[in-house]
């Protein structure tokens, strides 16, 4: 089983975000980045599928600037991925999922993956499309929002999450591309041995500018802060004052005490 996993670097979740003066992207200089949460579930699933089948390879694939992306790929390698592919871009201003997917397709189309996994969306643009479009470009069968996987010979059986606590089992023929929902597993931590051995694993670098892409299908013309329309009473003061106002709200506004 040869498995590719897309892993993306995104700002840590409690980052304070500022928009650039050109209003086209966030100021990234002072931000810290981490592996997109859903991708870390996808990585763990890939590692478990490989371990269960007893053979194969897990390849971690990421696109992003040279300063922060290798760290995310190394993290995947130290958890057990066998090698990495890094599409190096000078800036990360790409928001069109179709372009992203065509770049990944160019980078991996000759790998012959049996399975491609990714998180169901990224915590930055959250288009929820890149993994699925890549599956299409690779000519694979696809499924999304997967919360359980089972390899059955030439097929992959997945449990898909539907709305409001409903689920459905779907069987796909391999090769397949599926996007992973959080909670599917408990992602592992890297062991010290894993971290040491990751240093010797290969990360192949490709330059984004040298890969073929299609024409873009959508473009981001402005990024900004949402104006707020609901009036919120902000309760301020020391803890004692806050607590007594809250009790007051419970009593006289919500009338639950």
């Amino acid at each position: 089983m040869k498995i590719g996993v897309l892993v993306k670097q995104v700002p840590v979740s409690d980052s304070s975000l500022r928009v650039n003066p050109d209003q086209l992207w966030v100021e990234e200089g002072s931000l810290n980045f981490e592996m997109n949460e859903n991708d870390s579930y996808a990585l763990e699933e890939a590692l478990q599928i490989k371990e269960q089948s007893g053979e194969g390879e897990v390849v971690a694939i990421s696109m992003g600037p040279a300063d922060r992306t290798p760290k995310i790929i190394r993290e995947a390698l130290s958890k057990g991925a066998d090698r990495g592919i890094h599409i190096v871009e000078s800036s990360s201003h790409e928001s069109d999922p179709y372009i992203l997917a065509t770049l990944f397709n160019e980078a991996v189309k000759d790998e012959g993956f049996d399975l491609v996994l990714s998180g169901l969306q990224s915590d930055d643009m959250s288009t929820g499309q890149t993994g699925l479009i890549l599956g299409e470009l690779l000519g694979m069968s696809t499924a999304t929002m997967v919360v359980e996987t089972e390899i059955q010979g030439e097929n992959l059986k997945v449990k898909r999450e539907l709305e409001s606590g409903w689920f459905q089992w779907v069987t796909l023929s391999l090769p397949a591309c599926v996007t992973i929902q959080s909670g599917i597993n408990q992602p592992r931590y890297a062991s010290l041995k894993g971290i040491m051995s990751a240093k010797r694993k290969e990360i192949r670098e490709l330059q984004k500018d040298e890969l073929m892409t299609g024409d873009s299908l959508q473009s981001l013309s402005k990024m900004y802060v949402q104006h707020k329309d609901k009036r919120t009473e902000m309760i301020e003061g020391d803890t004692q004052e806050i607590v007594s106002r809250l009790v007051d709200v419970f009593k006289s506004e919500a009338k639950v005490l």
Binding site: D123, E136, L172
Partner: protein, 322 residues
């Protein structure tokens, strides 16, 4: 037509988000002077067509085919591709449902046409629409324009356009046909099922004390349970708490979990992602405590505290018990 609205069935009737998509399409049609039509397909096509023909839309297209009676991503993709070729709409719109997540990007990829997902509003700039969507988990907003293709697909976020703003009317139906073969469908789907809830129906609760990742670690959960007890409340949670196994699945509030509307909803260390908000925004009083003043939960809270829940919770419980 200019705008084709694709309906989805839920329990045999039009999905609420399909009606919201109609509201969005009607507003787009008005601003940009466009015509609309609804497409219904699948085994519920007849009842969906009935729903749709009572709306102010140009016409209702019904598509019935054995291979579309149960949903499959491949079947729906192929069907919409053929309908787009036959009808040449400028826009195809729908709700950003879980089902739409599963198949609509495939249509975009196969036809090389733009698909703008999870849109919260549309504004007209001259002759063309600009679509607004949230980025960075609701912390920022972005304007997106389609740049290629004759047709652009757009899906709308839950409640972006309220269902009750849909304009009723009456529309004729017309049946349409596509050519599908079993070999086009590469997946085999089993019937949907609900997991044993084994638990509580939160939808009837008067007070919900809901906990998010801000609680930090499993050992702190009892702080929340103590507060809930003092308020005679049910404990709810965001998804990461359930993913980590700190609380059972039936406690999860949101698009994948339960929808609730208590008199009081206390959101503790919950950032306010849209998938959480759709499950609790109907609550009468929303009180949010979060250490990040910019957390999107404050957009919908009636009362907000910027502070540390670990510090506030024990004191709040104590004060209520007195």
């Amino acid at each position: 037509m200019d705008i084709l609205i694709v309906f989805e069935a839920k329990e045999g009737q039009a999905h609420r988000m399909s009606l919201e998509a109609v509201a969005a399409a009607q507003s787009m049609a008005k601003e940009l002077n466009l015509t609309t039509a609804v497409l219904v397909m699948g085994k519920d096509a007849k009842s969906l067509a009935e729903n749709a023909s009572a709306l102010d839309v140009g016409e209702v297209l019904t598509l019935e085919h054995d291979l579309l009676s149960e949903y499959s991503a491949d079947g729906y993709t192929e069907a919409l591709k053929q309908i787009i070729a036959q009808e040449s709409p400028s826009y195809v719109v729908m709700g950003y449902t879980y089902q739409a997540r599963d198949w609509v990007p495939k249509v975009s990829a196969q036809l090389t046409i733009p698909y703008i997902s999870d849109v919260i509003s549309v504004k007209a700039e001259g002759e063309s629409p600009v679509f607004t969507r949230m980025v960075y988990n609701g912390k920022l907003i972005s304007d997106i324009t389609p740049t290629g293709g004759e047709t652009a697909i757009v899906s709308f976020q839950a409640a972006a356009y309220p269902e009750d703003s849909v304009i009723s009317g009456s529309a004729e139906t017309r049946s349409v046909e596509v050519e599908l073969g079993a070999s086009m469908i590469s997946t085999v789907s089993e019937p949907p099922f609900q997991e044993e809830s084994g638990g509580v129906d939160l939808s009837g609760a008067e007070v919900i004390v809901s906990v998010g990742r801000g609680i930090g670690k499993e050992e702190n959960i009892p702080l929340v349970e103590a507060l809930a007890k003092s308020l005679n409340a049910e404990v709810g949670s965001s998804r990461p708490i359930v993913d980590a196994g700190w609380l059972p699945t039936f406690r999860q509030v949101g698009s994948s979990g339960q929808s609730v509307a208590p008199k009081l909803y206390l959101a503790l260390g919950i950032s306010g992602a849209i998938q959480h908000i759709v499950g609790m925004k109907g609550s009468k009083n929303i009180v949010a405590i979060n250490k990040d003043a910019e957390a999107p939960i404050f957009e919908i809270a009636d009362y907000g505290v910027v502070g540390d829940i670990l510090e506030i919770l024990p004191k709040l419980t104590e004060a209520i018990e007195q």
